[in-house]
């Protein structure tokens, strides 16, 4: 920890070697950060690995066994599931990354009309709870009952194709990819948009001067320079899709298309085998480890090559799209129609019908606001709203601060084991939410941690959510810090500033757009997180999403769930747009 070496080609402001005691004293803050991170992450990961070698319930574990691995990997269905996972995650990631990079470029670097509005609107899909998004699309595209299918069949009927079968079937691998690809765009956009904004345009200018056209500049200069951010986004998106749960659950399982997440779900919920879930989780974990290694080799080890924020002034040049200005805007609105307008429209409709179980869709004359009114009569709704607000703010703030410090250690400090540190940070993502929640229950219900009094409070939910989201936040901050050349920090050190002062007064302001974007992302996800708050919900710490889950899954009042979903979306949209405003104002300052 105390050892920090110069990287190849970096100016010589090396921190001198120190004795262990001095190093510990000097790096106490960093040791504390790493210890906190490992504390949050290692326990769930360790629990998952141990469970994978045991039989029985984690609370009453049975003997150690290899059986979970033998069963998991001797069944042909497992390999079909792995293939499905790769097809699903690979294709949806390609869609997400391609569209997100395009939108980031359009909104950050071009003269596309309404690009500020588009930037804000790109955040809105994040506000929709994933389950409601998938359910809304089922109501649109399910065979026989989907509104779009019914409309298309009627349309085909006019052209003489009577009795045509359903034109679209959402219950398919294509349906899963479509939903996950759409859902993933905002996250990737947030990971790459900051990089586009912070990019030094000197290289592009040089290429143009040498006669390269826009396309050549984009593919030969812009994209390679932004490789850390794009690669980080790609890997994060890929692992997210591998872990993605809602679309595989709602549209994959009815068609018997299993992926890692639904296999883990099936193992824990249907056959109550946490060991088998662990065995699947561990292989997923190893796969994610390989991806982190690739990312390390490709990006972090060559961080200096990607530094585009230097001590020189920079102002990214706006690229004129010419006749493509309005088609580009049109493409964005098509995306927005699919990602927000259609599913939100269905949810809004659903929230207004008296009952969702009728044979056909209720007509507007039957609309009622009673589900919205009922929300305000719900016992404990205000407390749940307050709990949600507290969890959101604390989770987002703690996650991005921790991620920022961790990224700085990973990118700037050439310490042994930083690869492992980055790996663990990323791999927290690989532990299913239910296993994170269970490990937290065991940890904080047993002495000595029981005496902290965290169990049953909002703080335990916040801690568990930090564990869940640190992977995303650290991808964003890794990429951002990689882009900041160390000469700026070194200038501060030469002038006598302490390391923490440099970190907080120089580095943090420079990467603030990325940090703020990560904060918004974590906050928006914390507001609507289901599985962890549900498992950790006691009498006093219910959140709005737990109430929404109960409406949907337990009480089966789908219109009421839709009403709460619509209000949550509204709140998250306002939060994200306000956050966007802060980013813009800060950046322009």
């Amino acid at each position: 920890m105390g050892r920090e070496a110069k990287s190849a080609g970096a100016p010589a402001v090396a921190f001198r070697r120190a004795g262990i005691a001095e190093a510990v004293y000097r790096d106490l803050f960093f040791i504390a950060v790493v210890a906190l991170l490992l504390w949050l992450i290692l326990f769930p990961i360790g629990q998952m690995i141990i469970n994978s070698f045991r039989s029985g319930h984690p609370a009453v574990p049975g003997p150690f066994t290899w059986q979970n691995y033998v069963v998991a990997y001797s069944n042909p269905l497992t390999y079909r599931m792995i293939l499905n996972t790769f097809l699903f995650a690979g294709t949806s990631t390609l869609i997400s990354v391609a569209l997100a990079v395009l939108f980031a470029w359009l909104t950050e670097r071009t003269d596309m009309p309404c690009r500020n509005l588009a930037w804000g609107l790109l955040l809105v899909p994040m506000a929709m709870p994933g389950l409601l998004f998938s359910i809304a699309w089922v109501l649109l595209l399910a065979p026989k009952i989907g509104l779009v299918n019914i409309a298309l069949k009627n349309l085909l009927g006019w052209f003489g194709f009577e009795g045509a079968s359903d034109p679209i079937n959402i219950y398919s691998l294509g349906g899963m990819i479509f939903l996950d690809g759409l859902r993933g765009i905002t996250t990737v956009f947030l990971l790459v948009a900051g990089a586009f904004r912070m990019m030094d345009p000197a290289l592009e200018e040089a290429a143009r001067t040498a006669g390269a056209n826009h396309r050549k500049v984009f593919f030969k200069v812009t994209l390679p320079v932004l490789l850390p951010a794009v690669l980080a986004a790609f890997l994060y998106s890929f692992v997210s899709s591998m872990e993605s749960f809602e679309a595989p659950l709602v549209v994959g399982m009815p068609a018997k298309i299993y992926v890692y997440s639904t296999m883990i779900y099936f193992s824990t919920r249907v056959i109550l085998s946490y060991g088998l879930a662990g065995a699947f989780g561990v292989s997923y974990f190893l796969l994610a480890l390989i991806l982190v290694y690739i990312y390390q080799r490709a990006v972090i080890h060559r961080a200096e090559r990607f530094a585009t924020i230097t001590g020189k002034g920079y102002r990214p040049r706006v690229i004129a799209l010419g006749k493509w200005r309005y088609p580009a805007l049109g493409l964005f609105f098509v995306y927005f129609l699919f990602a927000v307008v259609l599913p939100l429209g269905v949810l809004l409709w659903l929230s207004l019908v008296p009952d969702d179980r009728g044979q056909s869709w209720n007509l507007p004359q039957h609309f009622t606001l009673k589900h919205y009114a009922n929300l305000f009569l719900e016992e404990g709704i205000l407390k749940a709203a307050w709990n949600t607000a507290v969890i959101t703010v604390t989770t987002a703030t703690a996650t991005v601060l921790l991620a920022f410090f961790i990224s700085w250690i990973i990118v700037r400090m050439k310490v042994r084991g930083r690869f492992l540190l980055d790996g663990f940070t990323f791999l927290s993502h690989a532990v299913p939410g239910i296993l994170v929640a269970l490990s937290f229950i065991f940890l904080y219900l047993q002495p000595p941690f029981r005496y902290l009094g965290l169990y049953g409070t909002v703080w335990i939910i916040s801690l568990a959510l930090v564990t869940q989201y640190i992977a995303f936040a650290s991808r964003a901050t890794n990429a951002a810090i990689t882009q900041v050349h160390r000469e700026l920090e070194e200038a501060g050190r030469v002038l006598g500033a302490k390391r923490t002062t440099v970190l907080l007064k120089i580095t943090l302001p420079l990467v603030f757009p990325a940090v703020a974007a990560a904060w918004i992302w974590v906050a928006a996800h914390a507001v609507r997180a289901f599985s962890v708050p549900l498992m950790l919900a006691g009498q006093e710490n219910w959140t709005l999403s737990v109430i929404l889950w109960h409406y949907w899954a337990e009480d089966r009042i789908l219109p009421q769930a839709a009403a709460l979903g619509v209000l949550l979306m509204l709140a998250i949209t306002l939060l994200t747009l306000a956050g966007r405003r802060v980013i813009v104002q800060t950046f322009s300052q």
Partner: protein, 353 residues
């Protein structure tokens, strides 16, 4: 060391220890009246049950408590709805860690074995409290709480009632309905049919294979599947619970009904018990004994159709009367996870045996 008889202090200590032990097993042979008297001293009970407070504006738990308190007005009820996998797993883990917030609690029948391993259940002589012996755990750890006949629910717009009522379990695996029927990812009815007094193991596993080969839509949630059935996404849902269908019909659903093919599997949904560390154990026992009494079952059936289907007071009794109903064994309940795994393996899932 002196013999206890010659050591009055040791003797007194032993007597006190035996008295404390007897007190810790409060219902060893106690009658219902004696339990009620002790419950009166306790004055309250903390319930964790699956009943909703109300459904579509109609009182359910509220009405059940009203009837209970008419008989036992001296017991104040603190109620929390306990349902769903996540909540039950949390409560189970809390209890293992020593946090017990209930005096009468219903968990899944699948948690019985782990609960016994973790020493969570207070043994109670339930038979002396008038509970039907068939419902009582062989070691008195608790009772089965909700029993529901399973059948085939169908959309009456797509299958005429005359035809629907003749549906058999074989229809679900028949090529005529290939890709057109839905099942739930945990086919609980097959667990019951697996018993020797129904189909037995071999026939059930062979059927499970044929059912899976018939390409059914596998739904994760029964309620979601039922909503799709009502909307016409598929004509029938094989292995559906009667309570949900009867409730929806009572609340106005017109295009659905349920057939009960033979043998009619009756599934024991939850297990109710008094936790070992209950604060008001007698009140917990009193609640459970009352809930399983004829009066308790009647009001459960009136409010949420969860009364004992073998009691004439239940709505479903008349639908299954005279049909072959295999009695459920405790052996099945304690082995239900293993049986489910065998069935799901036959259907092609990777399962730990």
């Amino acid at each position: 060391m002196r013999a206890p008889a010659k050591n009055p202090v040791l003797l007194a200590y032993l007597v006190a220890a035996i008295a404390a032990f007897l007190e810790s097993a409060p219902a060893n042979g106690l009658t219902l009246d004696e339990v009620a008297a002790r419950a009166k001293n306790e004055g309250q009970v903390r319930l964790g049950i699956a009943s909703r407070k109300e459904i579509s504006g109609r009182p359910v738990a509220t009405r059940i408590f009203e009837v209970f308190q008419k008989r036992y007005p001296f017991i104040k009820i603190h109620y929390q709805r306990v349902s769903g996998f996540g909540q039950r797993e949390r409560i189970f883990s809390e209890m293992v860690a020593g946090i017990v917030n209930y005096d009468a609690l219903s968990l899944s029948t699948r948690q019985i074995d782990d609960g016994i391993k973790a020493n969570l259940f207070l043994p109670v002589d339930w038979r002396s409290l008038g509970v039907d012996p068939a419902s009582v755990h062989p070691k008195n750890f608790g009772v089965t709480y909700r029993m529901e006949p399973y059948g085939i629910s169908y959309n009456t717009d797509m299958i005429k009632p005359a035809e629907g009522q003749k549906l058999t379990w074989e229809d679900c695996a028949h090529p005529k309905w290939k890709g057109k029927v839905a099942i739930i990812d945990r086919p609980r009815h097959l667990e019951v049919l697996y018993q020797d007094n129904a189909w037995g193991r071999d026939k059930t596993l062979a059927y499970a294979k044929r059912l899976a080969a018939n390409n059914p839509v596998v739904e994760r949630s029964r309620d979601e599947a039922f909503t799709k059935l009502l909307k016409g996404a598929y004509p029938m849902l094989c292995g559906d619970r009667s309570q949900g269908v009867l409730q929806e019909k009572a609340f106005g659903a017109k295009n659905v009904d349920i057939a009960f093919p033979e043998p009619v599997p009756i599934v024991h949904v939850t297990f109710m018990f008094v936790p070992k560390a209950a604060k008001f154990p007698h009140a917990g026992m009193l609640w459970i004994a009352w809930a399983l009494s004829e009066e308790g079952q009647k009001v459960h059936d009136e409010t949420e159709f969860t009364g004992n289907p073998l009691m004439p007071s239940s709505a479903v009794y008349h639908r299954i009367r005279g049909k072959k109903v295999p009695a459920i064994s405790w052996d099945l309940l304690t082995r239900s996870d293993d049986i489910l795994r065998e069935i799901l393996t036959a259907m092609g899932f990777p399962i730990v045996q």
